[in-house]
């Protein structure tokens, strides 16, 4: 499996996309572009030097010395500039190409109807994955390979160490592979090639990964390592906006950016690999991103990453308050639980089987094919346990109160109840006849929250308290009120909790009725 160059899927892409004529054309075009960039860099440096020399007679002696130094270092600086440009272009090209080529791979094969034939071969999902991940963007990797010698020469002549250059390439390749995996995952979730969906998913992922650079100024600066741009910035000495001075922490200890990039891309990439290997050979209707235990593990891992990358200190400019951190983690866990809930929705067919088995008592609530709510609760318990661990571990660095743990427990409970309601609603949608039920269920939920906000705003006209009460009943926003002490949340929060519990019961009854009804449908044909 490790000999990817002998992987049939990789070889297929190489044969199809790198026929001699095309390979030569790509190499010539790429080298021609490099020559143009080289000329542009030389021209810029020459222009800068000429301007400096022309200004020297009019300014004091320090400037003359600077001009002299610049002249002496001109050659090195020109090479360095070229190297930076080449790295920037390779980073943009390879990451973008990898993401979008992979984002169309599986869906395009489904579209061309070649996917079934590939699925019936003896290729294991992992082999298919490696072949596609490296094969789909093979043209971009080939282009990078053509530029590589020139980049190394330019970097070395520009004064960079060999290991800096290796680290920069490591950062680009890690980012490209991570984005490629993300693209493959998007492609697996699309039934046929739908450029719109793939484009939105791809751009979202690309925007997040590249934009992760902005995390450097938050509580979690380590998350910036997701972006290959961060690695390039630090390795190549692009310290614009003073970002180079931020050192990423891991469990409070400073680590090099490139190490963190590899750790994050590696661990999150491993999660994507897990989901892909699980589902790549499955029929579209049978895709289930994660098993229930994997979802719990994933929720635990994500929480763990946040606490591992947490950084308190003057540079963050925050109040370093345990309440604030706990509230933030509760809101993050809301997103995590929702994502895990969606990832563990049970397909209609499996849920019916579970329902029948449950009726005769041969399966439990915690079954792999059952409703997702028991596992959401378990994930929330794990998240809370990690929160306790995280807060206690960091207690010396912030103004920690034990009451924070009680407040966070209620906050998490309220969030869990709302998320459970939402996930059960989406599960109910999957039992209806609507097309793309998960997507539509999600949109219905968005509509619900917008409507709740509008209702609260209208009630808010008669008084702020009234509006907040409505918001607390209809949404989990009430628990994030910073003025609340201990468990003294507004009555609306507890009323909302009771209301949502009732709604959950109604949805469960609705699901039961659907499953019962489906079981009575007479045999019908289906090819």
């Amino acid at each position: 499996m490790l000999k990817f160059w002998r992987n049939p899927e990789f070889v297929r892409h190489v044969r199809a996309e790198l026929r001699p004529a095309r390979a030569v054309t790509v190499a010539v075009v790429v080298l021609f572009l490099c020559a143009l960039i080289g000329l542009a860099c030389w021209s810029e440096r020459q222009s800068m030097l000429t301007n400096a020399e022309n200004s020297a007679p009019h300014i004091d002696g320090k400037w003359t010395a600077y001009v002299e130094t610049s002249r002496q270092q001109n050659s090195q600086q020109t090479w360095l500039l070229l190297c930076k440009w080449l790295f920037g272009l390779q980073c943009g090209l390879v990451t973008f190409w990898s993401l979008f080529a992979c984002a169309q791979s599986v869906s395009a094969e489904r579209d061309r109807k070649t996917w079934d034939f590939q699925r019936t071969t003896s290729l294991r999902p992992a082999e298919m994955l490696i072949g596609k991940l490296l094969g789909e963007p093979v043209l971009a990797y080939f282009g990078m390979l053509c530029v590589l010698p020139l980049t190394l020469i330019a970097g070395l002549l520009g004064g960079l160490s060999f290991w800096s250059l290796v680290a920069a390439y490591g950062s680009i390749i890690a980012g490209a592979l991570f984005l490629g995996l993300g693209g493959l995952w998007v492609s697996t979730l699309v039934e046929t090639r739908s450029r719109g969906v793939e484009m939105i998913g791809g751009l979202g992922l690309y925007g997040f990964t590249m934009g992760a650079h902005a995390f450097t100024t938050t509580w979690f600066p380590g998350l910036a390592a997701f972006s290959p741009v961060t690695g390039l910035h630090t390795v190549l000495g692009l310290d614009s906006a003073g970002r180079r001075s931020v050192v990423p922490p891991l469990f409070g200890h400073s680590v090099p950016w490139i190490v963190l990039t590899l750790l994050l891309d590696g661990s999150f990439g491993a999660g994507l690999v897990l989901m892909l290997v699980r589902n790549l050979k499955r029929d579209y209707s049978e895709i289930r991103p994660l098993s229930r235990w994997q979802a719990v593990g994933c929720a635990a891992f994500l929480n763990f990453v946040f606490y591992a990358l947490l950084k308190f200190g003057p540079s963050t400019g925050s109040g370093t308050d345990s309440r604030l951190l706990a509230t933030f983690m509760v809101s993050i866990n809301g997103a995590i639980l929702f994502a895990m809930g969606l990832a563990t929705l049970t397909p209609h067919e499996r849920l019916k089987v579970w329902w029948r088995q449950r009726a005769v008592g041969t399966t439990s609530l915690f079954s792999e094919d059952g409703l997702p709510w028991p596992w959401l609760a378990l994930s929330a318990v794990v998240a809370y346990a990690l929160m306790v661990w995280g807060l206690l571990a960091w207690r010396l660095s912030m103004d920690f109160h034990t009451r924070t743990l009680g407040t966070a427990a209620v906050q998490l409970l309220v969030v869990l109840v709302f998320i459970t309601r939402d996930i059960l609603f989406v599960q109910w949608c999957t039992l209806t006849q609507m097309r793309q039920p998960v997507l539509k269920g999600f949109f219905f939920l968005c509509l619900y929250y917008v409507a709740a906000a509008v209702v609260s705003a209208i009630r808010g006209i008669s008084g702020e308290a009234s509006g907040i009460a409505a918001l607390s009943i209809l949404t989990p926003v009430g628990v994030f009120d910073p003025r609340v002490e201990w468990l003294h949340f507004s009555a609306g929060v507890y009323e909302g909790l009771a209301l949502q519990a009732g709604l959950i019961a109604v949805i469960v009854v609705g699901i039961s009725n659907r499953l019962g009804r489906v079981g009575m449908v007479a045999t019908a044909s289906g090819d």
Binding site: R15, R119, T121, S122, A524
Partner: protein
């Protein structure tokens, strides 16, 4: 286990054959949202059989074949190919399976030999055998002159032949063919038949589905009739036909105006029913033995009827299917 008539819910419908079963479908059931596409299907097909799965569109043929080759997971039950549970060990089972569907999608940006080479590697054929295997299959599907041509430039018929080549490149023990002749011209159909017969002689077990019954006539060794997800009949063709047609359809032709005599003689003879006579020819059903058939003919000739033709009307798969689908024989 002997063939038991193929009623719904039967423990297993075994097609008698020469050797161990290569295809076993055990209690197979597949449900979609509110449909039951395949319902409690039990079927065992021994080695070297060509088993024709027939039924109307929507009978569950495609679903059955897709489950058998691991493309779908059954709701309950299992498919076992060459002793390997397809759902548990799909890659191992798929080494024994060649799959062909009614569409012949191919990778258009590859050359003919590259396409077969890709699938040979994907099916994990031994490296040293691949080159010879690719060339052999190219010859089998008559694409020698196009060996180094891009698939993009091939005609539809050639692409279909290449698809067949893909299905047999790893010399599978089992071929699962879902409407493989759809879209093929008559010559290509004949070639496909010949190729499948040859593969059968080599020991390949073939499960082939079609709703064009003449396509399977005189070609399959066994048949199964599916309707609404259920296997309503299965077994060797002659056995199924014999089981459902104890009364044989007979046809008689004569010269002269002997209709009243013939009607009288037939009515007087035991095991005769459903007589339909017109000028110069007629049909009736006869449940007697071969000896009694000969006696009947002698009786008619003895009565002065100038018999021109006399014989059994051979039941085709189509006749049988039409009777089953009209619930005449259920």
């Amino acid at each position: 286990m002997p063939y038991d008539g193929g009623r719904f819910g039967a423990p297993s419908q075994i097609v008698p054959g020469k050797a161990d079963p290569l295809i076993e479908l055990i209690g197979l059931r597949k449900e979609y949202d509110n449909l039951v596409a395949v319902e409690d299907l039990n079927l065992t097909i021994p080695q070297s059989e060509i088993f024709g799965l027939i039924g109307p569109n929507g009978a569950g043929k495609t679903t059955t074949i897709r489950i058998a080759c691991g493309l779908l997971t059954p709701t309950t039950g299992k498919a076992v190919i060459d002793g390997v549970d397809v759902a548990r060990e799909p890659e191992r089972a798929q080494r024994s399976i060649g799959y062909l569907s009614d569409f012949f999608a191919v990778y258009e940006d590859l050359k003919v030999w590259e396409y077969l080479d890709y699938f040979a590697h994907a099916y994990k054929v031994e490296e040293r055998q691949i080159s010879a295997r690719v060339n052999g299959v190219i010859a089998q599907v008559s694409l020698e002159v196009k060996r180094d041509a891009l698939i993009h430039g091939l005609s539809r018929g050639m692409k279909q032949r290449l698809g067949i080549g893909r299905a047999i490149i790893h010399q599978p023990k089992v071929l699962l063919l879902d409407e493989p002749a759809s879209g093929l011209d008559p010559k290509a159909r004949l070639e496909l038949r010949n190729l499948l017969r040859w593969l059968q002689e080599q020991g390949t077990t073939i499960l082939i589905s079609s709703h064009i019954l003449t396509e399977l006539e005189g070609f399959c060794t066994s048949i199964g009739i599916m309707e609404k997800g259920r296997m309503v009949r299965s077994g060797r063709i002659e056995e199924v036909t014999a089981a459902e047609h104890r009364a044989r359809d007979m046809r008689i032709g004569w010269v002269g105006d002997s209709t009243p005599v013939i009607e009288a003689r037939l009515n007087g003879f035991p095991h005769v029913a459903n007589i339909k006579l017109s000028a110069g020819w007629g049909t009736f059903q006869f449940a007697g033995s071969d000896d009694e058939t000969a006696s009947l003919l002698a009786d008619l000739v003895g009565a002065g009827v100038r018999v021109k033709t006399f014989g059994e009307v051979k039941q085709t798969v189509e006749d049988l299917y039409m009777k089953v689908s009209k619930h005449e024989v259920m």
